[in-house]
């Protein structure tokens, strides 16, 4: 933070972020800026730093250097995962991670934006507004018919959607979505792209994805990472015709 007003109007602002693990530079002067209600696709080969970037944004990993600001005022490098989540950053993991031993409905209930402290939670009772919120979210991720089933009984694609539903229940301002199309059928992939596009009308979404068909489907600005920093940025066509990107993806 600098004195004399925010340095940026972006929702998420990463400036020159570096992270090293045992000498391996996972992020190397990464700078990235995401606007309000923007959807961005992040691509890059394995080891490019995509997951580490998400770890930095969500407070799981502390950067060695650089700035990470949310809404220009919150320094993400000083907050823990819970605080960042409460600020309005939702994260979907690469492998769908839901609460297997809870019903679909309870999965959403636990994600709803409410007081997160143990004692208020202990004494809380589900209100009618919460019930309505849950109904609406289940409808949106097409799981109304499965609300009483255990999450462990869902198919892979349904779990992905349940997790997206849980993210929405948090009412985040920014959603970080790691490979949402992995392991999905073509139809599910297309539906997921629709869902994400709709979400991005009101919220910012960052999608990390390997599936180029899916990225094309999203039709948004693309950032290509390589060796921990930004290699190219722009439309998918512009990025994929970039010589250095081709070199990185196809080998030299």
């Amino acid at each position: 933070m600098t004195i004399g007003g925010p340095v940026t109007n972006a929702l998420l602002y990463l400036n020159n972020v570096s992270v090293a693990f045992d000498g391996f530079r996972a992020l190397n002067g990464l700078s990235l800026s995401i606007d309000h209600a923007e959807m961005r696709a992040i691509i890059g080969p394995n080891g490019a730093g995509k997951t580490t970037m998400m770890d930095v944004i969500t407070g799981k990993t502390r950067p060695d250097a650089g700035e990470a600001l949310f809404e220009a005022t919150h320094d993400l490098t000083r907050l823990d995962e819970a605080a960042i989540a409460q600020l309005g950053v939702g994260r979907k993991f690469q492998t769908p991670t839901v609460f297997d031993m809870h019903t679909v409905e309870d999965n959403i209930l636990l994600a709803l934006k409410t007081d997160r402290r143990p004692f208020p939670v202990l004494f809380s009772r589900r209100t009618r507004q919460e019930k309505e919120r849950i109904d609406a979210l289940l409808e949106r991720v097409r799981l109304t018919g499965s609300r009483d089933r255990l999450a462990s009984e869902l198919s892979h694609g349904q779990k992905q959607w349940l997790e997206i539903g849980m993210l929405l229940a948090q009412e985040p301002k920014l959603l970080l979505v790691d490979e949402p199309a992995a392991g999905m059928t073509d139809q599910e992939t297309a539906d997921t792209a629709d869902l994400l596009r709709e979400i991005a009308k009101t919220r910012s979404v960052v999608v990390v994805e390997h599936d180029m068909v899916f990225v094309r489907d999203l039709g948004v600005k693309v950032t290509c990472l390589h060796e921990g920093s930004v290699l190219a940025e722009g439309s998918l066509d512009a990025v994929s015709s970039n010589e250095r990107v081709i070199e990185v993806y196809l080998g030299r």
Partner: protein, 384 residues
């Protein structure tokens, strides 16, 4: 909270059994003539009372292990601390009837040539104070221990090892005479509790009834916790800790809450145990005791509460019988039981029985993964 009923069939049955024991066993022991077929013999009353205290300890352990995935191998320490608090009260009640006839100092202090009561013994001549301490001391220890451990994100087998180290350290400390808790011999030779002779059969019957009521109360409390929204968060932590964290829950605070509550329950169990067995000494802190408690819960069925209590009762009844018949083989039998449970009925007796009967309402029993040390559940692994 539509999916979780506060009391299910098994819970109601459990409460009915425990509450009828609270009435029928003392009544049979005190009112029926000794030659009656339904008479509960004198020796059996404190023995069953001991089992019930162990069942309470098992409930406490199930709350942290079965529901929150924290495998504590040191819960015996909280039980023993509660026991010591009660033991200190009982020592003070001896008064001048001790061997040395000192009205203030317990015998072991006179023997050690101590001139006055250490400050930490003050207040223990009051029953209410001792009862409060039986809850507060284990709770405070669990809070401090948990605050450090959970904040540093110590989980899984590492956490289990340091809980074990905690009880071992306390055992060594309590063995020392200058700790002021009677050293090796501990506290014993009790005379009265609340002015009733601890040897009197009526007092023993009353202690039995009190333990049964406390067990029923603890069950209701645990059930209330696990069926609340906090209970759901706790199970969520057990099954996907980082998912819970990224939803905005401070996992360490939840673990700390449940761990501290559990330690307090264990303390109450210890306080009820001591007047019935008539002695508390540092061997109650032995790591093996805590491990045995884990076996009770595993055998009965973790994450079921009823199963934990049942397991404590069954294994201890087995122990009493076995150590009478083949004392040298008991430890082998216990180990064999643990291995057999893990391999054959990973969900324990209650889990297996309800699967068998097909009455398991899926969401009523959030049965965990079968691996015993599931303190570290499958976490999403970063790809890079």
């Amino acid at each position: 909270m539509s999916r979780y009923r506060f009391l299910d069939g098994a819970g109601l049955l459990f409460l009915a059994v425990v509450l009828s024991m609270a009435v029928l066993i003392p009544a049979s022991n005190l009112l029926l003539p000794p030659d009656s077929a339904l008479h509960v013999p004198d020796y059996l009353v404190p023995l069953l009372g001991k089992y019930l205290a162990f069942a309470m300890l098992a409930l406490a352990l199930d709350l942290v292990w079965g529901y929150c995935g924290i495998l504590s191998l040191g819960h015996g320490a909280f039980f023993a601390l509660g026991g010591y608090a009660m033991g200190m009260y009982l020592m003070r009640q001896i008064g001048s009837r001790g061997v040395y006839g000192n009205p203030i100092l317990p015998d072991f202090m006179v023997f050690l040539n101590w001139q006055e009561l250490p400050w930490f013994w003050l207040g223990f001549d009051h029953f209410w104070f001792a009862t409060m301490m039986a809850v507060a001391v284990p709770g405070l220890l669990a809070f401090c221990f948990g605050w450090l451990a959970f904040r540093s994100r110590v989980t899984g087998v590492y956490l289990s090892i340091i809980t074990q180290a905690m009880t071992f350290a306390l055992m060594l400390a309590f063995f020392r005479n200058d700790m002021g808790f009677g050293g090796n011999n501990g506290l014993t030779d009790f005379k009265e509790i609340l002015s009733f002779s601890v040897q009197a059969q009526s007092t023993r019957a009353a202690l039995f009834a009190a333990t049964a009521l406390a067990l029923a109360g603890s069950y209701l409390l645990c059930r209330w916790v696990v069926t609340s929204k906090l209970g759901k968060v706790v199970v969520a932590i057990r099954d996907a800790e980082s998912r819970t964290r990224f939803l905005g829950y401070r996992v360490e605070n939840y673990k700390l809450t449940v761990f501290t509550l559990s330690a307090m329950l264990a303390g109450v169990a210890g306080a009820l145990y001591v007047p019935q067995v008539g002695i508390i000494n540092p061997s109650e802190f032995t790591p093996a005791n805590s491990i045995e408690a884990v076996i009770w819960v595993a055998v009965g069925g973790r994450g079921t509460l009823v199963g934990a209590a049942l397991g404590a009762f069954a294994v201890n009844a087995g122990k009493t019988w076995f150590t009478g018949v083949l004392p040298s083989l008991w430890l082998f039998a216990l180990g064999g039981l643990f291995v057999a449970t893990t391999l054959l009925i990973p969900k324990g007796i209650v889990g297996a029985a309800s699967d068998l009967l097909g009455i398991r309402r899926k969401s009523d029993l959030p049965a965990g993964p079968s691996a015993l040390a599931s303190g570290a559940p499958a976490e999403p692994t970063p790809a890079e």
